[in-house]
Symmetry: C2
Subunit: 213 residues, 2 copies
């Protein structure tokens, strides 16, 4: 099966859109409606689903309930996803308050930091613990997923600690390329790069318009 990051991201978006359609009272959906709702094409939708052995019928489309159930299975939504957060700076503090995770069945069980001034803080029932408690905590709770919200300079070191503790996948916010062993995955989101992207395309559009005018 050839799945990549973009394909899985579309799966998350399909699931989101399907829940909205369901909320509106729909029970069946055609690929072109779903494509419109996520900004894709109907052939892309069908291709993505076929990778997972999901096929609709030409006359009736896809059953929304079935599709949500299958996407839940694919995206690991059928069980609570336990996560630890390393780094309780501005980004970390925002992430423990972020409602999007719990809506999606993702639960940050604890946050870890090296600054004692942050311990004993408790936000949304999430405790901030010393970084050296990370390993026993991860092992005790059998956690596989981590969020890395530490500064660039500490990111590789803390990632190594996480992997040694048993973490197998990390969402990283530090603007740096991290190395992890085979069998582990790091997905990096760099907000300044995302914004630079927007800036580039706005400037590129302006130049094109300038030429066209």
């Amino acid at each position: 099966m050839h799945t990549n990051k973009n394909c899985i991201q579309r799966m998350s978006r399909y699931r989101n859109a399907l829940n909205r359609f369901k909320g509106l009272g729909f029970s069946k959906i055609f690929s072109n409606y779903l494509a419109d709702a996520v900004g894709s094409t109907s052939s892309q939708v069908r291709k993505d689903f076929s990778l997972f052995g999901i096929y609709g019928s030409k006359r009736g489309g896809y059953s929304i309930d079935c599709l949500i159930e299958q996407l839940n299975e694919i995206l690991g939504k059928n069980e609570l996803q336990k996560v630890v957060l390393a780094g309780f700076g501005n980004m970390g503090a925002a992430l423990v308050r972020y409602k999007g995770f719990s809506k999606e069945g993702i639960s940050i069980l604890a946050a870890f930091d090296i600054d004692p001034a942050k311990y004993n803080k408790r936000i949304n029932n999430i405790e901030v613990l010393p970084l050296d408690r990370l390993q026993p905590f991860v092992q005790e709770h059998q956690i596989k997923i981590g969020i890395l919200g530490v500064p660039e300079i500490a990111a590789q070191h803390v990632l190594d600690l996480m992997v040694a503790a048993g973490i197998r996948g990390v969402l990283n916010f530090a603007p740096i390329q991290l190395k992890c062993p085979a069998g582990c995955v790091v997905n990096s989101v760099t907000l300044e790069h995302e914004l630079e992207n927007v800036i580039y395309f706005v400037n590129a559009n302006e130049k094109t318009e300038g030429v066209a005018a």
Copy 2:
């Protein structure tokens, strides 16, 4: 020129890595070093640069200073990038505190919200203003870039307000597909989907290991 989002994101990463190499005292660099530093391949690096008419020499590689200068030009780094933020919830409040933007020459000039309890707050010298001040503010300061940190249900409405005010590119954090007119660009970052991605690949790896074992 065929540039896409991934290519521009790599440009941001190259620039980041080049600044680190420069800090270490290097003045020249070969594509394979740069590739290693960003987790890419040397042929990808050369292909990306050639899209912008940037070529190194076989013997000496690329001049780091020249390359940074050219990437600064491409990514709009030669002038301060003025940005407005709509939505001063948890995410918005974290974004105004986020140091990554100012490091990259991106300045959030003001934040806008509909909740009067948030007005008169000032964080990092950024003021929170009523949403109906967005349009005159954007026009007065000739701002083209916005960040959308409002809830899903308000996102399309606030995006429309931004576009009407003159915003041409938006970084969106709401987990919903937004529609914008031609000539405008929306880049959506959905944190829960990014984490779902990690979860999917961790589960997929575990299944593969299970099969292999």
